[in-house]
Amino acid sequence: MALDRISLQAHAGEFLCIVGPSGSGKSTLLRVLAGLHRQSAGDVHIQADRPGTPLTAMVFQEHALLPWRTVRDNVTFGLENRGVGRAEREARAREMLAMVGLARFAQHYPHQLSGGMKQRVGIARALANDPEVLLMDEPLAALDAQTRTIMQEELLRIWATLGKTVVYVTHSLEEALLLGDRVVLLTARPGRVSQIYPVDLGRPRALEVRASPAYGALLEKIWSRLREEVVRAMEADRGVDPEAIGG
Amino acid sequence: MGVAVPTAVLVLWEIFSRLGIVSPRYFPAPTTVAWTLADRLVAGDLAGDLLVTLTRLALAFALAALPAVPLGLLMGIARPVRDLVEPYLAFVFPVPKITLLPFLLIILGVGEPAFVLTGASSAFFQIVISTLAGVQTMDPRLVEVGRNYGAHGPRLFWKVILPAALPAIFTGLRLGLGLSLVTLVAVEFVAAKSGLGHLVYRHWQMLSTPEMYAAFALVGALGLVLTRGLRALQARVLTWQEDIGV
């Protein structure tokens, strides 16, 4: 069992970050929300304000673009499956590609793009779908440190423009504090909600926030709790027969 | 599940043949073929022809592999050698090797050397090309690591390049053995007076179908044992290799 008795509520327009030790079921939680994984018990409620639009759209960790489609056709993929007309699809793709700064790359194939650019396409694909809730599964984890910093600022800008509800899974506490309105800390296996921390660092937020004393204090506070969980998870692993893990 | 479909096919064939729904003259019942196979293996002529084919195969494979692996490696590490040999490789590789048979027949005369060399040629080209590809597609960082940690010249070859190319060499040997079996059986079918390929041909001409199918099944079994056995051997010997592929 990856998750146990999770109860969570995200407010409309909120940027909710989920952190936790490896194996706490962060990604599973997101996949349950996306409907990719059936939970054994419990419900997911997403209030739909605009009927006809999808409830969720996911940005995958390894971008998961279709290699045989151009950047533009990847962005329009969800709309195409919903039967949206060509003119509207393409207008929407243009808009979203402009928003993520890839307007010039509409006709490129994914293999011609850098890692950061591919993930921008993944974000544009999710946004083009215009979901109630945007789900992001460690979207920047595979990027190098500099690209990640640039993408974090981009995400803040896009979120401020569109005002979407975002559920964002990350293993980086710093990233959660920079982006989130609230940080949900999960426990080690099985994942439960350990604590929810409001992030009162003001908006709009930029990278400079990391220099403020309030940021440092909050980071310290959550980190000491996260550290306990990580140590607990490692001790639990040590108790297990190493042969059994590989199976 | 694994044996369900083959079993079903054989059972249906048996019933259809016994009931005469398909002509038992052309499609004798599998049990009849099995009896013929067992009988002829013991009585000797089938066992003898199997031995002939196996001997030709072993000779052809050895004649191909011994020069092909060194040549492929040499082409991989020495650019001029590759430039020198590549045009002939590109010209002959896509050609069916059985076309070499008439040339070898006029040069060497009708007989074993021509048969075996034709079989060897199809393995030879495959092994050279696989070996060369193994050296060419190896991770260039491995050579850098080797140099950086003090492996030069022959040491670099024995400790880094050869192990890196080994999976591809093994794959080449495996494919080469399969190809020379295919070519040899075809050669026996058209030109030889012995061997499993010739048996299929002779019993086809005489319309002694149980014997024909028995020889046919033996060739299939031989191919299966060779391909499966070598794959298992490769997985066993090259334990660090992740995926053997086709």
Binding site: A64 | A4, V5, F27, P94, P96, F216, G223
Partner: protein, 259 residues
């Protein structure tokens, strides 16, 4: 002009070595160092090739072979892609057919000729069906593998964005398998040439394989060499032509040899 010069500079060995061999062969054969009965002079072979082309013999045999390859390949491609896709999509079918294929595949295709000649009218149809056997297996195998190797995350993402049923197949599974299908078709076409020549050597009276074999039986050595040259040329055209076509048709596949 300079580009040509640089190209020559890099590839002079590759171009020079066959030319040198041809010149040496011509000389050795003319002086009797090589027995001209077995190794006729290249210029003599070229003359025979021209004669065969001029009197139409060559074109007739080549056309027969090409038509046979066309039929065999079409048969193998249609059945191979269809069954390969079905095996890739349905596990039960794959598990059922795998052992059958494993037993039949390593059998040399020429041996199927007697069997096929019992099943279908002997002659042209039996020849075409026999030639199709090996290509069919190759195409079916690679197609199955092509469906199976598609990144599961990509399929999951496509489902998440609403692709189901036919759309999932047409937009994700088929294009995902396409590079492998193409490799299978390329291998299948190559093997169709190999097998058709072998089958023609065994049993036909027309076609390039038959021409080669008949030339041997009447000891027209120059015609043997000329025919061999044409078969090799055909093989090269098929394999390199298809590689170029693939780069054209599948632009999303980064350049990589799949030998």
């Amino acid at each position: 002009m300079r580009a040509v010069g640089r190209w020559l500079g890099e590839r002079w060995i590759t171009i020079g070595s066959p030319l040198t061999v041809l010149v040496l062969w011509e000389w050795a054969s003319a002086t009797g160092l090589l027995r001209a009965v077995f190794f006729p002079r290249p210029s003599t072979i070229a003359g025979h090739l021209r004669d065969l082309a001029m009197d139409g013999t060559l074109w007739g045999h080549a056309a027969t072979t090409l038509v046979r390859i066309g039929w065999s390949f079409s048969l193998a491609a249609i059945l191979g892609v269809a069954i390969g896709l079905a095996m890739g999509l349905w596990r039960r079918l794959r598990e059922g057919l795998d052992p059958v294929f494993a037993v039949i595949y390593p059998i040399p295709s020429v041996l199927f000729l007697p069997l096929v000649s019992f099943l279908v009218p002997p002659g042209e149809i039996a020849l075409v069906v026999t030639t199709a056997v090996t290509s069919f297996f190759l195409i079916a195998f690679t197609t199955t593998h092509g469906v199976r190797q598609i990144d599961r995350l990509v399929v999951e993402a496509a489902r998440h964005y609403g692709a189901r049923g036919w759309r999932l197949f047409a937009a994700v599974l088929l294009p995902g398998a396409l590079p492998f299908i193409f490799t299978g078709l390329r291998l299948g076409l190559g093997f169709a040439l190999i097998v058709v020549v072998a089958v023609e050597i065994v049993s036909a009276s027309r076609g390039l394989g038959a021409l080669l074999w008949l030339s041997w039986q009447v000891l027209k050595v120059e015609d043997m060499y000329a025919t061999f040259f044409v078969i090799a040329l055909l093989g090269a055209l098929l394999s390199y032509g298809l590689a170029a076509l693939r780069a054209r048709l599948l632009p999303w596949v980064p350049d990589a040899g799949d030998r």
